[in-house]
Amino acid sequence: MQSKITKTWNRKLLLLLLGISIIAASFLSVCIGVAGSGFAEVWSAITNFNPASSIHQVIMELRLPRVVGAVLVGAALALSGAIMQGIGSNPFADTGLLGINAGAGFMVSLGMVLFAAASFRWVMLLSFLGAAMGVGCTYGLGAAGGKNAAPVRLLLAGAAVSAFFTALSQGLSLAFGLAKDLSFWQAGSLNGITWEQIYLVSPWMLGAIVLGLFLGPSLSVLALGEESAVGLGLPIQTVRLVGIIVSLLLAGCSVSIAGGISFLGLIVPHIARFLAGTDYRGILLVSVLIGSLVMVLADLCGRMINAPYDTPVGALVSAIGVPFFLALTYRKRKEASGR
């Protein structure tokens, strides 16, 4: 009993700590930038906005939407990864590795070519459709009849599906002269997010995040194994369907504003599992928070590393994520031999 109480306290402390770090990191990120500015200026920009001041403009129109975008995208990608890892019992599930980013990227480039003046609403829809297409191809081709596809097969299929769609969108972008815009976007970048985009995306994202968090208890049961979950009366098919739709919604929305960011959905849930234990309610919530934190920090690094140039945040996240991914394969072997 005693330990249970300390556990819940520990978790509350953890959540509080993460929340504070996110706020601190966001604030830092708003304060730091090429144009300069200090704490006082940021404060006055927020409390007492003066449209004539250029630094106020920079803070309110460039940095703030960017930070809000980073918080949303990080949360969405991490949660989407955590849910996919939960429903597929695939430790390698990630929006980048499963071909979701590439599919969404392809549809968006197609949209840019076919309907050049498409509003952002359409971009969002296309991105979602592309995400569904990408994951459909990967699972459809990687699973090959088997009910539970081996993670390695899915990884390989995902790599090929990604290569295919990336090649198609590269072709489109070179053919229609969108190369630099698109290549930056494909690498994943929060550059140039506007308030309008955030207004359009955030209801969907927040809705999906809340819905996703409600999946926690079901995923905990599913983690016991398919047979036990059926025995406990869990409607597995429904849970999987809802999970997939939620994670696609999250991934599609993120891609539509930030481009393809890989490996965030892979690493964050594993860190969350390390911190929060095996209960998916905890894992999902902690994933959301850590995802936001990592994203805000990575975006800040991306802006500072090579200033005044912007380094795509997706590349930074991948650079951190790959060693992690490789280390995971070692852990998996240990588990397998333990069985």
């Binding site: 390989l156 990336t166 795509p312 490789l326």
Partner: protein, 333 residues
């Protein structure tokens, strides 16, 4: 004996096809030339303009595509046999990426060596590719033997990581260089000149015969580690030598044409269908199919959206990725 003569006939037919596709490719492009003029221009002078187009613009790039395709096809075939994994390919294993980042480092950080880029680019590419293979080797060496699955998995990871590192480096590059880099990374023979062709030619002329001469050992090696050792093959030595050759081939090609993925994957598979699993013909067949694939893809890339052109790497990926998925479906990992 009868089988051998069949294979030789098939090789001859293939050789003729490669040649025909080259001639066709010479005609593919923005300015259309009559065939008679092209043939004449190959054997002697016609008018100034035709000569310029054929000898200065199209012939070098077609030869570059031809050589890169051959080298990568062979490299892929060796990699597939050595790792005993039919899905291996210098692109998928991250060797291309490793060579690519080394070339990128060369371009960005060693401007003083650019005068002699013909010598240094392949060397840098080779070092990069070797580092990746060395990493994969240690990564995939588990429980005392080389795990094919982990070889592939490590390759996917390495490719992803290196590609992002390349992006990070290349954002610091100014815009005009960035355009060039992104084209090069996608795999392109656009703008290759005779210098490029001469850069890789010596490597291929040395490495291809050496590799093809190891055909017998490859035949033994694909039986598996224990049987091969039982037959008296120095498995570890042979494997390392062959990997070295495969990386050398891939690196030389990448130094010229950038990240051409999937050529090394697809060509050996098609060759296997025709020539069977004996490496004596399979290796040569892979070379020829690689050449054919690249020359045709390059031609398609030039025709498809005139007056612009698509890099050959994109066309190859679009054709080959579905084939990879098909192979994956058939194979049980």
């Amino acid at each position: 004996m009868k089988k051998n003569s069949k294979a030789i006939i098939a090789l001859c037919i293939l050789l003729v096809t490669v040649f025909v596709s080259m001639v066709l490719s010479l005609n593919a492009g923005y300015s259309n030339l009559p065939f008679t003029k092209i043939i004449q221009s190959l054997f002697g002078a016609v008018d100034q303009e035709t000569n310029l187009i054929i000898h200065k613009l199209r012939l070098p790039r077609i030869l570059a595509a031809l050589l890169c395709g051959g080298g990568l096809g062979l490299s892929g075939c060796v990699l597939q046999s050595v790792t005993r994994n039919p899905l291996a390919d210098p692109g998928i294993l991250g060797i291309n990426a490793g060579a690519g980042i080394a070339v990128l480092v060369f371009m960005v950080f060693f401007p003083q060596l650019h005068i002699a880029s013909k010598t240094f680019m392949p060397i840098f590419a080779f070092i990069g590719g070797m580092l990746v293979v060395f990493f994969l080797y240690t990564f995939a060496f588990r429980n005392g033997r080389l795990s094919n699955t982990y070889f592939l998995l490590g390759g996917i990871g390495a490719a992803a990581g290196i590609q992002s590192a390349m992006l990070i480096i290349s954002t610091g590059v100014e815009n005009s260089n960035f355009q060039m880099l992104s084209r090069w990374l996608a795999g392109s023979v656009w703008g290759t000149n005779w210098n490029h062709v001469l850069t890789i030619l010596p490597y291929l002329l040395i490495l291809i015969p050496i590799t093809v001469s190891r055909a017998k050992n490859l035949d033994v090696l694909i039986l598996g580690e224990e049987p091969a050792a039982g037959l008296g093959l120095k498995v570890e030595y042979e494997r390392r030598l062959l990997l070295f050759l495969a990386v050398g081939l891939a690196a030389a090609c990448i130094a010229v044409c950038g990240g051409l993925s999937f050529v090394g994957l697809v060509s050996p598979h098609i060759a296997k269908r025709i020539f069977g699993v004996k490496h004596r013909f399979l290796l040569t067949g892979s070379v020829l199919f690689g050449m054919l694939l690249c020359v045709l893809s390059d031609a398609v890339g030039r025709i498809i959206i005139q007056p612009l052109e698509l890099p050959v790497g994109i066309i190859v990926s679009i054709i080959s990725a579905p084939y990879f998925l098909y192979l994956l479906r058939k194979q049980t990992v």
